[in-house]
């Protein structure tokens, strides 16, 4: 059994799959976490920055950053789903096929 597992883990398709996933998942997770906590730190330590007007109107930098963060969430999930469909899914299928051949 463990012999078979070793063989699976050494499949080039499996290695490519885990690599591809790591390459996208952690950077995007860090971007999401960092963006949110940076905004919280600005609120805590430099709230005045957020009160400044964005382009001379009433809209403040704070409101723009807040709405921007919501949009960032859309972008992050969009990028990941697109990448997963294009790159990760074919690798999952290829790995599964190879695992089937191992039997």
């Amino acid at each position: 059994m463990s012999n078979r597992l070793d063989k699976i883990e050494q499949l080039p398709e499996f290695i490519a799959l885990t690599k591809a996933r790591r390459k996208i998942v952690w950077p995007l997770a860090i971007i999401s976490i960092a963006a949110y906590f940076v905004l919280i730190l600005i609120i805590a330590f430099s709230p005045g920055t957020l009160a400044t007007s964005l382009t001379g109107g009433t809209t403040s930098v704070g409101i723009a950053l807040g709405l921007g963060l919501i949009i960032l969430c859309f972008i992050v999930t969009g990028i990941y789903v697109n990448y997963a469909n294009r790159v990760i899914e074919p690798l999952v299928e290829a790995t599964k096929k190879r695992i089937g051949e191992l039997k």
Binding site: E9, L17, A29, I33, L50, I63, C73, T77, V92, I99
Partner: protein, 553 residues
């Protein structure tokens, strides 16, 4: 099922006279709201009747047979997550403090990319019905399931009390029922949906609610934006012009940097962001789809719907500032009639008269029901699948054992429903606002660390998970109790023992450090076996090979 129909008729019989009695009372009672409200109850009970005939096995009960599509599940997840508290509460918060309300709303969204990136796919590949399945995949069943079920139940009960108390007050105000009648009515409906219709009925109640809530909120935001020529800047300018705090609402209201409030803000942020990824009723939804691809699609749609919804509530809050703040129809003694939770309700009347008011009131009611049904289902699964299935049935998978587990799940739903209603009535006069925060804090400090590390950290052992996870759970509870929300607001002490309202920063750290420390110190034979089993789990987590195939519809 005859009983169900009998109840249904009885329910209408009870509703009609109650409406007649209160028709002369507050102006909030309208025929349109009543008709829509009864229609919603009838449709959802009809769905429950339909779902009950399709709910035969535990798989049907916990996971709707496993054949929900990603899009449907995305809608259902948003229906599970967007509570009446966020709709009415955040609109109210934007109305009173502008920017600060937006930041609060964002906290409830930022957890979703994390759920998508780190949780959804491996969770679906490894688990069957609850997140305890995943946490106990290569660890010892008994201790891990007891811990995971405790974390789930604590989260579910606090969340449920907060929702029921809020529901009682909203329904009391909107429809004129007494608080008790409202809580009992909601309790009966949610218990019926879950007991008879299981996950299938719960899913469709959530889908319908999500569609209703998103359409209602979209219409309101549209009607607001029309008034300002679709210019946010015009809307903000008008709001700043009439708001008592003026331009201050465009930025944080506290303009003085201070360390305590910075730590509090970071701590709340952690609870919201990582707590989302540890909510049992949300995690459970990922087992209703066929595979990891559909799980991924679910979160993609859910994030879109939830983010869009928070943008709408933000627009609604600002629209309310302009349209309600100086309108004598909605203001008495300088305050909004019914409190700031009624901002969205009053605004619907200001924008679309009785028709829109009736619609939005019915939507608020549907919103409450969908959320409490999802919570009840998650709580009853923790009892029947994790506790009863492991401790009493000892993991027996025979058809007889399945039948017993099925019966246990229905009984635990009814018991949970009764407990929730009783607690809802007990806590009527209490300030329960801290309970949602506490639920998120426990989810972030117990459920999330155990789940995350069991999936991604080879060296995790049962001992580490149990000690660290328990420390996280207990420290979260303890620190909330000695903090301002319970020690001062509920127990009426002079000052709190710690100044932080949400202690997730500390309890999460305690959990992660505890799990790490007691895992690496664990060199028992068991620990070696558990680490060796990581490879098999890793392959399945990445590929789904070995995962149970979901049923075709």
């Amino acid at each position: 099922m005859k009983k169900l129909l009998a109840f249904l008729l009885l329910n209408i019989g009870l509703i009609a006279p109650a409406w007649a009695q209160t028709a002369a009372a507050p102006a909030q009672n309208h025929r349109i709201a009543m008709v829509l409200f009864i229609l919603f109850v009838l449709v959802t009970l009809g769905i429950t009747y339909w779902a009950a005939r399709r709910t035969k096995t535990t798989k049907d009960f916990y996971a709707a047979g496993g054949g929900i599509t990603g899009f449907q599940n995305g809608l259902a997840i948003s229906g599970d997550y967007m509570s009446a508290a966020s709709f009415l509460g955040i609109a109210g918060l934007v109305y009173t403090s502008g920017f600060d309300g937006l930041i609060y709303a964002i906290g409830f969204l930022v957890g979703w990319p994390i759920v998508l990136l780190l949780i959804a796919e491996p969770l679906r590949n490894l688990g069957k019905y609850t997140f305890a399945d995943v946490a106990s995949f290569r660890l010892q069943q008994k201790p891990i399931r007891i811990l995971a079920a405790s974390g789930s139940l604590v989260t579910v009960i606090f969340y449920l009390i907060a929702q029921l108390v809020g529901a009682g007050k909203i329904i009391e105000f909107l429809f004129g029922y007494s608080y008790q009648t409202a809580v009992i009515g909601v309790g009966i409906l949610m218990t019926l949906y879950v007991t008879f219709g299981g996950m299938l009925a719960t899913t469709w109640v959530q889908v319908i609610k999500a569609v209703l809530l998103l359409s209602g909120a979209s219409l309101m935001a549209l009607l607001v934006l029309i008034q300002f020529g679709f210019s946010f800047d015009n809307m903000f300018a008008a709001a700043v012009g009439v708001h008592s705090k003026g331009a201050a609402i465009m930025a944080p209201l506290t303009q003085k940097p201070d360390v305590i409030s910075a730590i509090s803000a970071i701590s709340l942020g952690m609870a919201l962001m990582f707590g989302t990824a540890g909510l049992p009723h949300i995690l459970m939804r990922f087992f209703t789809v066929r595979n990891a691809v559909q799980a991924r699609r679910s979160v993609f749609y859910a994030t879109g719907f939830i983010g869009y919804f928070y943008i709408l509530t933000f627009i609604i809050g600002f629209g309310a500032i302009v349209l309600l703040a100086n309108n004598p129809n909605y203001i008495a003694d300088g305050k909004l009639i019914g409190g700031t939770n009624m901002v969205a309700i009053h605004l619907s009347n200001a924008l679309g008269g009785d028709l829109l008011l009736g619609f939005i009131s019915a939507v608020a009611f549907a919103t409450i029901l969908a959320v409490v049904a999802g919570l009840t289902l998650a709580g009853s699964s923790a009892i029947s699948h994790d506790l009863y299935g492991t401790l009493v049935l000892k993991g027996d998978k025979s058809p007889e054992a399945q039948k017993k587990e099925m019966r246990a799940s229905r009984i635990s739903t009814v018991i949970l429903g009764i407990i929730a209603v009783l607690l809802g009535i007990v806590f009527e006069k209490q300030n329960v606002a801290f309970m949602v925060g506490l639920a998120f804090c426990v989810a972030a400090s117990a459920n999330f660390p155990i789940l995350l590390l069991s999936m991604f950290w080879r060296k995790l052992t049962t001992r580490g998970a149990v000690i660290g996870g328990s420390l996280g759970l207990l420290s979260a509870l303890f620190l909330v109790v000695i903090g301002p929300t319970v020690w001062v607001d509920a127990f009426h002490n002079e000052t709190a023992l710690i100044p932080f309202k949400n202690p997730a920063l500390f309890s999460m750290s305690i959990a992660f450090i505890g799990i790490w420390l007691f895992s690496i110190l664990d060199n028992s034979a068991n620990a070696q076996k558990e680490r060796a089993a990581y490879d098999a789990q890793y392959v399945r987590s990445e590929t789904g090979v070995g995962a149970e195939e979901a049923a075709d519809h």
